[in-house]
Each structure stands twice: as structure tokens, then as C-alpha cells.
Amino acid sequence: MAQVDPIKKSSPMLIAFAWLIVIIPTAWGLNYTVQNAMKLFTAPTPATAATAK
């Protein structure tokens, strides 16, 4: 009887690595964007800035 090779499933490490390749630059860009977005909540208003001088 011919031996049937077992189906080789994709390695979980390979799947994780593939996702890391795209997640890392996305997280890098998201970090910049979040820091920018925080300025909406932390930047002083023009009136406050003028008073503080």
C-alpha cells in the first residue's frame, strides 16, 4: 500500500511572523498618530496660552 504523506499545516510561528511584519510598521505609524491626536486634548487653547504669558 502506498504511504500517504500527512498534510503539512502552516506553522503557527510562520503565521505569527507574517502578522508581525505588517503589525510592526502599523503600530509605529499608529503611535505617531495617537501622539498627534492627544494634542487635541492636551494642547492649551489659544485664550489660555495668551493669558499664561
Binding site: 498534510i7 502552516s10 502599523t26 505609524g29 495617537v34 491626536a37 494634542k39 487653547t45
Partner: protein
């Protein structure tokens, strides 16, 4: 065909290949081409360049670079969609990478020699072709791998387009600062570097993408026999699809959704400062733009995934009802009315999430109506709605603003008019969605049924 390793037959997945390797391949493409929405970081540096004769470019001339790129995105997606179905995603992604990367290189020569036409040709035309090829290249493949969750799958990829702007902006800024410090011409060096980096990153997508073998389906998944009749049991070829009323109804829906989003995105930073004079600084306005880009990206994934559960028609109903109400109400949050910055920001964030969601959900809606047979090609033709919105949207916004400025009328009074026009457009979108019905039998490709629907058409 040349470069046989790119053939569709050579990219068929072996048994056991995990479908979860496919979204990263698609994301690599979309995260790269999404850079186009961050092209504005080059605007001021380009304006500061001088030719040998001392000439400079103006805002309008530099603005055409982005417009040409988006125009060619739509043209190439429409022209090459049918070719993509037979050539396969790997070859399409490869050509997209060549065009997008090489487009940057040509544009760099334009910047260094102060020839705007070269930048139009490089980034605009050639890069734009890369954008169109890259945008549609993974859609059909993702739908084949995820027949149980097409919204999730395409939402992941198209979310990458939003993420690409978040990467492209700081990448360009950091590179320009680095080359300036190093004494190199900053724009040409940055463009060459970005062209090479994006080409390499897209190659990861080229060599990771696989198409499922014929007849493949997820383990244990059985297509439901009880679902809306809007989910087609037949396929429609691309040359028949655009003869159907359904195609044009979806075209209108995408057009109005994108135009409405442009109504906010086009003037987000100046709008919040004008509506809350003295209450929001220029720095905070930049933060507002950043927040909108986060919700744009998140909305692509959220709404497309949600559509797998509530249906595509219902998802767009939410965009066009809730969206219309929010657009109508948004101007009333301004300083001389409710005077609420948090409410203004919250409403804008929600509507922009639906702007992104509209892009990401449309491929699954097309698949529902026309089957998966030619979905990339049909999607490509539908993207002409995006190109049209990219022209009409800014014309509406800038035309109204220019009118108010020219007539010395308060600019803050222009925004309510713009937003209410967008509200009206969304009502048109609602009506278009309401009219969507199953595609008539005469348009079907003559093949055997996949699933016989039992549900009502809603």
C-alpha cells in the same frame, strides 16, 4: 506568460496552507499604497523648491499630483480588473509594486530637476496605476479564502489603506529631516528611499499571497441555505454587471459616502478652528486630524466586520440614516450654538468611521450581489465612484468656501451649508440602498447553483 513564477497556477496554496497567511499579504500591499493619503507632507517642501531660473510651484499645481494619482487609481482599477481575474493576484501585486516603487523614483528626478511634469508622470500616472492595481489585487482572493466572513477579510485589507497614511506621513517626515541633516537633497532622497522600501515591502505580499485550490472551503463550514436573497446563488460577469441597476445603485452609494467624508476631511483642521474661534489651537487641530485618521482606519475594519452579521444593506442603511442625522446636527455644536468641542469631535469621528466603513464593506456587498466570480473586476469598475467623488467633493467644499471668502462672508457660516449638502447627498444614498434588489436572472453566468436562497430580499 513572462515571469512564469507570477502565474496564478504557480500561486495555488498547497494542502494545509493557513488562510490566516493571506491577510498579511494583502495588508502589505494596502499599507504601502495607502501612503497616497499622506502625500500632503511633501506639499510644503515641494512649494519651497526653486528651479534654476528661480521659479517656484504654486499650491494648485502641487495639488494636482494627488488628484492625478487618485484619478489613475480609478482608471487602472476599472481597466485592469478583468485582466486581474485571469492573471491572478500575485502578478497584479508584482506590477503594482513595480509601478508604485518606480513612480516614486521618477518623481524624485522631477523634484531634483524641478520638473513638475516628471512628478505628475511618476507619482501621479505610474504611481496611480500601481495604486489601482494594488487596491483591487487582494479582494477576490480574500473573499475566496473567507467565504464565511467576507466583510472581515476585505475590511482587514482595506483597513490597511487607512493605516498606510499613518505610516507614510511620519516616514516621509523623518526621512526628509534625516537627509536634510545629512546635507542631501531631502525630497529626492526621501522619494528614492520610500520607493525602494515600499517595493520591498510589497514583495512580501507578492510572495506570501496564495489562491485557494478550486472547490476549497474552510474546514467545517457549510454555506447557509437560509439567508437573504440579496446574497446571490449565481455569478455575474463583469461585462454584464455594469449593465445592472444594482451596479449603478452601489456606484451612487459609494460616490455619496466618499463625497460626504471629503466634506469633513478636506477642511478638518481649519473647520474646527473656525467653528470654535479661540477655543481650538492649530496644534489641537492637527490632533483632530490625527483622531479622524484613527477612526477612518478603525471604521474600515469595524463596519465591514459588522456587516457579516447584520448584512450589507443594513450596514449602509446605518451610514445613510445615522450619518445624515449626524451631518445635519454637526454644525449645531459650534461655538455660537451648543459650543461643545467634545461633541463636535465625537460626531466627526463617528461619521468618518462610516466613511472608511463604506470603502471596506462595498467589496462584500458586490460579492453578495454578483457572486465571487468577477468581484475584483467589478470592484475595479465601481472605484470610478471614488475618483468622481475625489473631484466633485473638493469642488463642492472649496467652491463654497471660496465663494464665502470672495464675498467677505464669515467662513464659519460656510461649513453648515457644506455639511447640510453632504446630509442631502446621504439621503440620496439611502434611497439608492433602499432600491437594491437581487440581480435579475438574465445577467447570470450560466452555471450551477451554489446555494438556493430561502430568505426574502431585504
Amino acid at each position: 506568460m513572462a515571469l512564469a513564477f507570477l502565474d496564478r497556477d504557480r500561486s495555488i496554496a498547497p494542502a494545509g496552507y493557513s488562510r490566516w497567511l493571506v491577510p498579511p499579504a494583502a495588508l502589505a500591499i494596502h499599507l504601502s499604497i495607502g501612503q497616497v493619503y499622506a502625500f500632503s507632507v511633501f506639499k510644503n517642501p515641494l512649494l519651497a523648491l526653486h528651479g534654476a531660473d528661480g521659479s517656484v510651484w504654486n499650491l494648485k499645481e502641487v495639488g494636482y499630483i494627488f488628484s492625478i494619482a487618485i484619478a489613475f487609481l480609478g482608471i487602472s482599477a476599472a481597466l485592469f480588473g478583468a485582466w486581474l481575474e485571469t492573471a491572478g493576484p500575485r502578478r497584479a501585486m508584482f506590477y503594482a509594486a513595480i509601478c508604485f516603487g518606480f513612480g516614486f523614483i521618477i518623481a524624485s528626478f522631477g523634484a531634483s530637476s524641478h520638473q513638475l511634469l516628471l512628478i505628475y508622470l511618476g507619482y501621479g500616472v505610474i504611481g496611480g496605476i500601481g495604486l489601482g492595481l494594488g487596491y483591487i489585487s487582494p479582494v477576490s482572493t480574500l473573499i475566496k479564502w473567507f467565504p464565511d466572513r467576507p466583510g472581515l477579510a476585505t475590511g482587514l485589507a482595506i483597513m490597511g489603506f487607512g493605516g498606510g497614511a499613518m505610516i507614510g506621513g511620519p516616514l516621509a517626515n523623518n526621512l526628509m529631516a534625516y537627509f536634510k541633516t545629512a546635507g542631501q537633497p531631502s525630497i529626492p532622497s526621501t522619494m528614492i528611499t520610500m520607493g525602494i522600501l515600499y517595493f520591498l515591502f510589497m514583495m512580501f505580499g507578492v510572495f506570501t499571497i496564495r489562491v485557494p485550490p478550486d472547490g476549497w472551503k474552510p474546514a467545517g463550514w457549510v454555506p447557509s441555505t437560509k439567508h437573504s436573497a440579496l446574497i446571490s446563488s449565481h455569478n455575474v460577469a463583469v461585462d454584464e454587471a455594469w449593465k445592472t441597476p444594482q451596479f449603478w445603485l452601489l456606484w451612487v452609494m459609494l460616490f455619496v459616502n466618499v463625497t460626504a467624508g471629503i466634506g469633513i476631511l478636506e477642511q478638518a483642521a481649519p473647520m474646527i478652528q473656525d467653528l470654535f474661534k479661540g477655543g481650538v489651537s492649530a496644534v489641537a487641530a492637527v490632533g483632530f486630524v490625527g483622531l479622524l485618521s484613527i477612526f477612518n482606519m478603525a471604521g474600515r475594519f469595524f463596519w465591514a466586520s459588522t456587516s457579516d452579521f447584520i448584512g450589507r444593506k443594513a450596514t449602509y442603511f446605518i451610514f445613510f440614516t445615522l450619518g445624515a442625522v449626524l451631518y445635519f446636527f454637526l454644525p449645531f455644536t459650534r461655538q455660537d450654538k451648543l459650543d461643545s468641542v467634545p461633541l463636535f469631535v465625537a460626531i466627526a469621528a463617528v461619521v468618518i468611521s462610516m466613511y472608511g466603513g463604506g470603502f471596506a464593506t462595498i467589496p462584500a456587498y458586490l460579492k453578495d450581489l454578483f457572486g465571487g466570480y468577477n468581484v475584483s473586476a467589478i470592484h475595479g469598475r465601481l472605484l470610478t465612484a471614488w475618483s468622481a467623488a475625489g473631484i466633485i467633493g473638493p469642488l463642492i467644499v472649496n467652491g463654497i468656501l471660496d465663494h464665502y471668502i470672495a464675498n467677505k462672508m464669515p467662513k464659519e457660516d460656510a461649513y453648515p451649508l457644506i455639511l447640510h449638502i453632504m446630509c442631502g447627498l446621504l439621503v440620496v444614498g439611502f434611497l439608492a440602498d433602499l432600491m437594491v434588489r437581487p440581480v435579475a436572472e438574465k445577467f447570470w453566468v450560466k452555471d450551477k447553483n451554489i446555494v438556493v436562497p430561502e430568505g426574502v430580499a431585504h
